[in-house]
Amino acid sequence: MTDEVTRLASFREEIADWIEAACPATLRGGAIGEDGIVWGGRNWTFANPDQKAWFDAAVAKGMTAPMWPQDVGGAGLSRPQEKIYREEMARMNAPPPLESFGLWMLGPALLHFGTAEQKAMHLPPVVRGEVRWCQGYSEPGAGSDLANVQTRAEDMGDHWLINGQKIWTSYADKADWIFALVRTDREAPKHKGISFMLIDMRSEGVTTRPIRLISGKSPFCETFFDNVKVPKDYGAGGSAIVGELNRGWDVAKYLLTHEREMIGGGARGLLGGRSLGEFIGSLEESVAEDPVIRAEAMALEVDSLAFGLTMERYKDRAEGGKGVGDASAMLKYYGTELNKRRYELLMSASGSAGVEWDGPHGSLAPEWLRTKANSIEGGTSEVMLDILSKRVLGMPSS
């Protein structure tokens, strides 16, 4: 225990020194907008040299994927070390050096289900920010009923022939590769004929079209597959299919659980680098002292703090090998509903200044509208409540 505490304390010092040295002060100003995020990819250009310097330093140390094994380029940190890394990053206002669907989703899927060849081909480029991934799950007829995907993958001997349409593919227009759920067996029951497939977006027949949301411009796209040929084997990179053929639903479910934990976490604690207290303090006095706004702000702060602790508890549980499983639906449900509440408060506290598209509070209005999707994407709140009631509480089916 004491040894462990000492080791972690010196790790904290070490990592703080490293962040201090590697992350330029210009990047540590607090709130980072969409422009401040480094997504990586074949066509990526950095916003400024400081951003690149921080990214390069992190890649060299494996800190873009702190918990991934070192043989795929990660830093191989333990869970307590990773927690310290996050805490020190937050304390020093350092932005993540790289964010991507490859880190959040493809990586966990391959680490769990992938072959050695698949890991070796796909993970190092993700860690180094060289390949940008997007997720192809939903379809016009497969929303909450995701297992109803109809995009077809026909077996053509040496390759698959893909036809169909995906929707809500975030950043598909900027992505290099897509991991998609495709139907490989049309005769089987709907959960049992789906495969999890890796497809190069440069393939002939792939097109994307952006979707405009109620909040304005969005990263969401529609992605079309028109007679797209996907090789069954990427040479030494192994199969195009992750996990077993027709068992893609297992991979998807695993990833959905992972995704829920991530979306739930987005609602935690700080918002745009500002605490609720600071936001209230920045308001006109008559608004800051409004008893209704104060009461809601207090209630929100209480719930946000308790939810933040719950995120930590669940992460500890997952790391301790006790598993979170279906209970992660709670994090997704609670975190996204909390975030919507937070934005409702920010909007009402901002008054008429909040309703301008580009007013004194910057992009508050579009952000507020965007939060309405939080409880829809990645499984609606209602689907989360279904999962909790059936699988956690054991309520009977109708």
Binding site: L276, V302, L305, D386, L393
Partner: protein, 373 residues
């Protein structure tokens, strides 16, 4: 001391053994029996709890205590809340044992289950220690106390009472208060039992020219908060834990009913409208459990900085228990309104516990103040 909010193996063992023992020795049926018999305290039950080390949960081993810490005390309180066990655990083993830190003989008596304590702080309808106006006038080398204290939990069963009195300053000021440790039978002190909805022991104390000496003072004169504030924090974390357990108990009873009750030829738990409400309640309980565990950990590792964590726990627990009992009664339908069914006991205890040692608004405001607004 562990920093993770997860339970250690020892803590899980403590929880499991407490739950089993309480189900056998102090189920809701025992509370009902006490109420029907006009009783609010079971001396035999408290003796048994003392034998298991619960009365000495916070007392040091040198005083015969188990010295298990606040997280462990919270686990015991939570399990007592789960089945609505009535005992002076929080008043005595948690609050008094914290206030009397260092007083070896008194702690030994508490740990042995020989002395029951009550805490007499509030004088009006809401928790507000600094508004104390019960005066202790200096008479020669001693004091003479006069005033009234309300909502004194375990006030009838207690052999000793910790009384907060004003020795200087004006009501509203945190300084100028002194904590007295007084024999409950001392001349001039009368205790009026108040029949509260939860069927627990609550009393009003009338204090008319009660004499006290310097030896009765806990901590320093005019500086009660130095000893009382930690005791209040411990008690608030404890009652938050009890309310978390209470919410869990009410939820479990309700889930059981949803899985068994049939209407329209189906189990009502198969209706999505009820499933979603149950799942929402469960989510709130999970989130509150984190706040309660955090409060216990903070009291064990950094008690000075624990105030916000404790208020967070009490605020959350009040809201969550309130939701659990309202949903519990509603989802039980008509039978939930009958006295013969147990869910109503949860509702009554939740309302009383929500008021004790600071309500939701009191604690939410403390959290907000700590967070800068």
């Amino acid at each position: 001391m562990s920093l993770s909010l997860l339970e250690t193996e020892d803590e899980t063992m403590l929880r499991d053994s407490a739950r089993g023992w309480l189900a056998d020795h102090a189920p809701i049926a025992a509370l009902r029996k006490m109420r029907d018999g006009g009783q609010t305290f079971d001396a035999g039950l408290w003796r048994e709890m003392a034998k298991m080390g619960w009365a000495g949960v916070l007392a040091p081993e040198s005083a015969g205590g188990a010295d298990m810490g606040h997280r462990a005390a919270g686990i015991l309180a939570e399990e007592m809340g789960f089945g609505l066990t009535a005992s002076p655990f929080l008043s005595t083993a948690v609050i008094a044992a914290t206030a009397l830190q260092g007083a070896q003989e008194k702690l030994a008596a508490i740990a042995a289950g020989e002395v029951i304590y009550a805490l007499a702080v509030d004088e009006a309808t809401k928790h507000a220690p600094e508004r104390t106006s019960l005066y202790a006038d200096r008479i020669g080398n001693g004091f003479r106390l006069s005033g009234t204290k309300v909502f004194v939990a375990d006030g009838s069963a207690a052999a000793r009472v910790l009384i907060l009195a004003r020795t200087s300053g004006a009501p509203g000021e945190a300084l100028g208060l002194t904590l007295f440790d007084i024999d409950a039978d001392r001349i001039g002190l009368s205790r009026m039992p108040r029949a509260t909805v939860d069927s627990r022991d609550h009393a009003e104390l009338r204090i008319e020219s009660v004499e006290a000496t310097g030896e009765d003072v806990v901590g320093d004169v005019d500086n009660a908060m130095a000893v009382l504030a930690p005791a209040l924090r411990a008690g608030q974390a404890g009652i938050a834990a009890e309310m978390l357990g209470l919410a869990g108990g009410a939820c479990a009873m309700t889930l059981g009913y949803l899985k068994e009750r049939k209407q329209f030829d189906r189990t009502i738990g198969s209706f999505q409208a009820l499933q979603h409400r149950a799942a929402h309640l469960w989510s709130e309980i999970e989130v509150t459990a984190s706040a309660v565990a955090h409060a216990g950990r903070m009291l064990d590792t950094d008690p000075i900085a624990a105030e916000m964590a404790v208020s967070l726990a009490k605020a959350r627990a009040s809201k969550t228990a309130d939701l659990a009992v309202r949903e519990g009664v509603q989802m039980h339908g008509g039978i939930g309104m009958t006295d013969a069914y147990d869910i109503g006991f949860y509702m009554k205890r939740a309302r009383v516990a929500a008021e004790w040692l600071g309500d939701y608004g009191y604690h939410a405001a403390r959290v907000a103040a700590a967070r800068g607004f």
